[in-house]
Amino acid sequence: MTAVLSLEQVSKQFPGVKALDNVSLTVAAGEIHALLGENGAGKSTLMKILCGIHQPDEGTIRLDGEPRRFTSYRDACATGVGIVFQEFSLVPWLSVVDNIFLGREPRNRLGLIRHAQMRAEANALFDRLEIDIDPEISVHRLSVADQQFVEIAKALSLNARVLVLDEPTAPLTPSEVERLFRIMRRLREDGVAMVFISHHLEEIFQICDRITVLRDGTYVDSCRVADTDHDALVEMMIGRRVENIFPPRQARAANSPLLLTAEIGLKQTDHTDSITLHRGEILGFAGLVGSGRSEFAMALIGAYPTRVAQIRLDGADVTFRSPADALDAGIGMLPEDRKRQGLILPFSCADNITLNHLGQFYRPAPFISRKQEAETVDAAMDQVRVKAPSAQTPVASLSGGNQQKVVIARWLDRGCRILIFDEPTRGIDVGAKAEIYTLMKRLAAQGIAIIMISSELPEITGLCDRVLVFSHGRIVAELADEAIEADTIMRHAVTEPRRNDVSHSVTEDA
């Protein structure tokens, strides 16, 4: 086995945190190497060091045995390291071929771009990958999967011998994941070394050869996939047996009163789905990423265009034209993407938290009492345990988990009857997760109805009273109490809904 790439005892210090401490990683030619670890374990930092975005404080990177020091991303690309980021770096309005050769277009003697050559090279790449993409098509018209394949082609066009794939399967459907794996197997035959990051252990067992596990910025172990199993990997990642971090399930007050019914059909679809929600209930929206869970929730609060939206709240018909209307009726939402949809980044923690209930601090009417505001904010921050020097700290300087807690704190004093949590624990550590689960249970016990959208099955099974499974934009199953099991949910989530399958008639089949 010849190591193409090896990182030896790499350390990296960021202000206040040791992101990586003595981490090593060796990848051989024709090997798919899984890099595993919880959020914040240091995977992304390691990958950024590998491709020259960060420089290591200590340790060496060797490529074909030669010590290398990448000073920039460009530098790393030029030496044969390619990376496909989670967030794609394609220019949406340029064509596929223009994207692949962006910044290094072949020129003729007059300095003009040689289109024919570019097209021919792109086609050759696609042939090698056995994918069928028109190189002249504008990138924004491609599916997410195809865009990812273009990213891979772009990396290969630089003669990448090491290819890093950072959670490539997250936005893909199961059949697209299969296509991706086919491409990865082809590249493996060609001798390309790949580093594969994924949170789905099944995928790792399906495609990878070896595994390296990181935990809290330290190296735990490397092993062959064949020599390990699911439980052993989880234990390596977490460092202990998985304890139950979910609060004990209480018998839900039977027949708790109905709070909301909604029948919603999104614009540009020809079907409608309906949901019911009871007081004090935690209703889960399960399904794969892109299965339409968030869109449904957004449509519910008037933030997504609908064709049909019949909503009855507490027995009265209501219409929500905007999230502000929904909020007036007592429905609030914590969106999925906290940076883009949740936080006002230039604001302090305090200003972020009080933004949607400033009216509580009137003294007199249109003027806000800063003092009163500060007291409430301190209480809210204590309640969700935001770790910040003070309430006036700019929210941009907090870690992801603490930022998420700030977004959650915004809703604590808002007095909502219904709260929608879209991926509430994404990017936060285990301890903070447990706190958020307890908090959600407490809110539910107060009679607040909660809709939780989550891709993490343990979260759904551990917390929800009832679960709706989404697939391809539709609700395909409803599960309650004992029927809420991970494999049942997964089975429904990957099932393509039958056409003309009106409403959720599959309710009983679990």
Partner: protein, 328 residues
């Protein structure tokens, strides 16, 4: 940044001192004030007439029209927008006031009509931006031309004179020894400060500029906020129209050309982020006064007006360079 602290006992007071210093350093006002003080010292050194109490009042008064317009511009820029129509809206409001007074309307009614017209123009801008979802730079570019044309149409291209003599009070009068344009400007800033920092609407202005999507999803009525912002911008342009019409004692349809650029410069010099979400209205006041001081000082030094423009341009670039990428 993170230096080692020998012991907790020593660290505590030190950290407090640093945080106060850092708060000042990180305030959007820091560099504007620094620049203001620097220019002030330079101007008073190179010419002895500059520090005259009379001259200083003149500087502030000369800056007051741009200063008042820049209040509305601040609101627009804090939301991440812009209002290019302020100059012609000012001229239009002023000429309407003059025209109605010349036609024999009582002055208070004429003034109120002018202020309403300016606000209505701003509200139209706001409607297009908020509900028509058009980019503010294009909307206000279009209405800038339209307002200019309307002012010329209304007056037939000629200045309107024959205003009641007491009307000159707003532009030339004094109250308690202070020139009225200065008082009007300070009052405008005081109100804007209270609105921006002590009312929910003010918080929404910054929130929209900081992250419009998040603001909308959290349940704030973003379109309503934007509509009000551009209405305020129209209103402050009309107030400036009142001051300038009174000062000149005639309704000038063509006045105010290029004022939008000076107002934008004042906001940016005041430390605001052009992308929105950051800035303070008192910074804008400092920025407007900085510009006025440059105009006055360079005039006193006998610098040609062509060269003045070059110098002002250079200073704006320098200010933006210093302020770029600073934390809130």
């Amino acid at each position: 940044m993170s230096d080692a602290t020998p012991s907790a006992a020593v660290a505590a007071p030190r950290r407090q001192r640093r945080s106060r210093w850092q708060r000042l350093l990180h305030s959007p006002m820091f560099f504007p004030l620094l620049g203001f003080i620097a220019v002030f010292i330079i101007m008073s050194l190179v010419n002895d007439r500059f520090l005259d109490l009379g001259n200083i009042q003149n500087v502030i008064r000369q800056g007051s029209v741009i200063g008042i317009i820049a209040v509305g511009m601040s609101f627009a820029i804090f939301t991440g927008g812009i209002d290019l129509s302020v100059g012609p809206v000012m001229a239009l409001s002023g000429t309407i006031m003059a025209g109605l007074m010349a036609a024999g309307w009582p002055a208070p009614v004429a003034i109120a009509a002018g202020l309403c017209l300016g606000s209505a123009f701003g509200a139209f801008n706001g409607f297009c931006v908020a509900f028509g979802r058009m980019p503010p730079i294009i909307v206000t570019l279009a209405t800038m031309g339209a307002a200019h044309g309307l002012a010329l149409l209304y007056t037939g291209g000629y200045p309107i004179s024959g205003l009641p003599s007491w009307f000159s009070w707003f532009g030339r009068g004094t109250l308690a020894g202070i020139q009225l344009p200065i008082l009007i400007m300070l009052l405008t800033y005081a109100i804007a400060y209270v609105v921006l920092h002590h009312t929910p609407f003010g918080r929404y202005v910054y929130a929209v500029g900081g992250n419009e999507e998040a603001t909308r999803l959290t349940g704030i009525r973003v379109p309503r906020t934007k509509m009000l912002v551009y209405t305020i911008s129209g209103l402050t342009a009309a107030i400036a129209g009142l001051v300038i019409t009174s000062r000149l004692m005639s309704g000038q349809p063509g006045i105010g050309e290029g004022f939008e650029l000076d107002a934008i410069a004042a906001v940016v010099l005041g430390g605001a982020a052009i992308a929105g979400g950051r800035g303070v209205v008192l910074g804008t006041l400092v920025g407007a006064m900085l510009l006025a001081m440059l105009n006055n000082g360079l005039n006193l030094m006998g610098v040609s007006s062509y060269l003045q423009d070059v110098i002002k341009g250079g200073i704006i670039l320098l200010a933006v360079y210093i302020g770029r990428g600073r934390d809130a």
